[in-house]
């Protein structure tokens, strides 16, 4: 957890709502794992005031770069789009704990929704690198939001797209799709991010199929350094609930333990 001022290589719009930013990490000597995130200062002024958390979308060890995929939502992300190549990105991180790929889990299923796709892309990349077979269900409002699908395919993942636009993203349809994939592919672990409803579905199927799994959570953050207790959620272990900080103890947690409110 350190503040890094790093050069921006590119920052471009990739679809109607999404942008993509690439950063030169030559000067940053840190190990970065899929599922970890950076707390980014989107503007120099005092508005927007706080940093914004963004998962790592791609980790390119070969050429010492990392990439972010972000949805333009409000003032912070709008300001981020103003950054130009050569400008400095102010990153705090890498933060939190990322995903675990267990050696015995050689076939995994990712279910991602919205900006959660960015988070799971890094995992698909890692899976590809480790020779783990990876299937991904990507859910979004519209086809246009699913630009990351290609990236995942490049990593070797089998991608299924579901959208509101096409009426294919309902929990019921996703459930049958997941069941079909789990059975057909002999899936060994589930990973999810980006939707409460899909998270509950993943929890249910994980229990039913006795699969391990992980979930990356998103919570409103203040410090992202474990200091402010803004980003808490509850875990249930041995029948007892305890509060954890998403920024410090997460954002990735065991799927079965998270209490989804």
């Amino acid at each position: 957890m350190k503040q890094h001022l790093l050069p921006i290589i590119s920052n471009v719009q990739v679809s109607s709502r999404y942008w993509h930013m690439k950063i030169d990490t030559t000067e940053m000597n840190e190990t970065i794992e899929p599922g970890q995130f950076f707390h980014i200062r989107c503007s120099e002024g005092i508005f927007p005031f706080l940093r914004r958390p963004f998962s790592i979308y791609r980790i390119n060890k070969e050429d010492d770069t990392i990439e972010f995929l972000y949805l333009v939502k409000g003032e912070g992300t709008k300001d981020l789009t103003r950054k130009k190549p050569g400008d400095t990105a102010d990153l705090l991180g890498p933060l939190g704990y990322g995903f675990q790929l267990q050696p015995e889990c050689d076939d995994i299923l990712l279910t991602a929704r919205g900006v959660g796709i960015a988070t799971l892309a890094a995992l698909a990349q890692e899976a590809g690198r480790k020779g783990v077979r990876c299937t991904a269900i990507l859910s979004a409002r519209s086809r246009d939001d699913l630009l990351a699908a290609e990236t995942l395919q490049d990593f070797g993942a089998e991608v299924h797209k579901v959208t509101e636009e096409e009426g294919t993203s309902g929990v019921d349809s996703v459930e049958s799709l997941m069941r079909d994939i789990i059975n057909r592919k002999n899936i060994k672990a589930l990973y999810t991010c980006g939707s409460r409803r899909l998270s509950r579905l993943n929890q249910r199927l994980a229990e039913e199929y006795k699969l391990p799994g992980e979930i990356a959570l998103e919570e409103q953050m203040g410090c992202a350094m474990g200091a402010c207790f803004a980003c808490v959620c509850d875990l249930e272990e041995d029948g007892k609930q305890r509060s954890v900080r998403v920024c410090l103890e997460g954002p990735v947690f065991p799927l079965e333990k998270v209490v989804i409110s």
Partner: protein, 304 residues
């Protein structure tokens, strides 16, 4: 040759190497990765309660123009964990450790002050008599002068460590509360805690923080805090610890000119994790530039 710049300040019998410390609740042990704790004036962990308590519903923070609202509440693992875990974690550092206490009654304040005040690793106590997130519509002990005086008097009886009363800005007259804390036996005053505030998402019609209301911090509140520091310094000789909206050394100097002998930096650390040590350096730079030998030459030296 560079002249000596004396940045040492006293909080009661406690001496700090410089006047910059974290604001309670905006500082944690994990920040040591980004910040050299040995370079700040003191360490203050988040307010501790006697019993474990869960804190408020999420979302717990939201942004406003030039600031943020937090409704963390005092999420706390209770006194036992604090003694066994938090204190050892911080006492490894070479700077004084000040414990911030939050309690539900005067008796509880006394009980906790007794325990913490007699702990060898704790150098002073900050009594958070101002947390606006407590049950009861944002009411706090520090909103009533008589209660404040009694609370300080009672706590004074159980411990000899320096007592810092952290005042609430949500009052008609901070001067009255300051005088009451002084009369009760406080050694210093922190001016001040967050301002009770609320924001509503006009699209969802829901409050932006789970607890409906929360405390406003950040640069937006600084002019209110500077005013309160100035007012307080007019009615008491106690050292004042300025707090609220400091983003850099200039802001700290502004509070010092208004009458503060030390400052706390909270939210700024969320934006720049090295804010605390940056502020120390920027105060030193200011002293160089204006050839100020001793920080006390600046305290309260606004020319009205």
């Amino acid at each position: 040759m560079i002249a000596q710049r004396n940045m040492e300040v006293s909080i009661g019998s406690l001496s700090l190497q410089n006047p910059v410390m974290p604001a309670s609740g905006a500082f944690g042990p994990e920040m040591h990765e980004a910040l050299d704790f040995n370079k700040i004036g003191a360490i203050i962990p988040k307010s501790i309660t006697k019993h474990p308590q869960p804190g408020n519903d999420t979302p717990r923070v939201c942004e406003t123009h030039g600031g943020m609202i937090n409704s963390i509440g005092i999420q706390s693992k209770g006194l036992d964990v604090y003694l066994s875990k938090t204190i050892p974690e911080f006492s490894a550092y070479d700077v004084p450790l000040i414990s911030s206490i939050s309690a539900e009654s005067i008796d509880e304040f006394c009980e906790m002050s007794d325990v913490l005040g007699s702990h060898p690793d704790i150098d002073a106590l900050e009594l958070n008599i101002s947390c606006p997130n407590l049950k009861g519509d944002g009411l706090a002990f520090g909103m009533d002068a008589e209660v404040t005086r009694e609370l300080l008097t009672r706590v004074r009886q159980v411990t000899d460590v320096p007592l810092i009363a952290k005042l609430t800005p949500n009052v008609t007259s901070i001067q009255e509360i300051a005088k009451a804390a002084d009369a009760g036996g406080a050694d210093a005053l922190t001016v001040a805690n967050t301002i009770l505030a609320m924001a509503i998402d006009t699209e969802t019609k829901k409050p932006m923080v789970g607890n409906v209301m929360g405390g406003l911090s950040g640069p937006a509140v600084k002019p209110i805090m500077v005013r309160m520091i100035y007012q307080t310094s007019q009615v008491t000789d106690l050292p004042i610890i300025g707090c609220g909206g400091i983003m850099n050394g200039t802001d700290a100097i502004e509070m010092i000119l208004a009458g503060a002998s030390a400052v706390q930096v909270g939210t700024a650390s969320f934006i720049t994790p090295t804010a605390l040590t940056d502020v120390v350096q920027e105060i030193r730079d200011y002293m160089e530039r204006h050839d100020v030998k001793n920080i006390y030459d600046l305290v309260g030296s606004v020319e009205c």
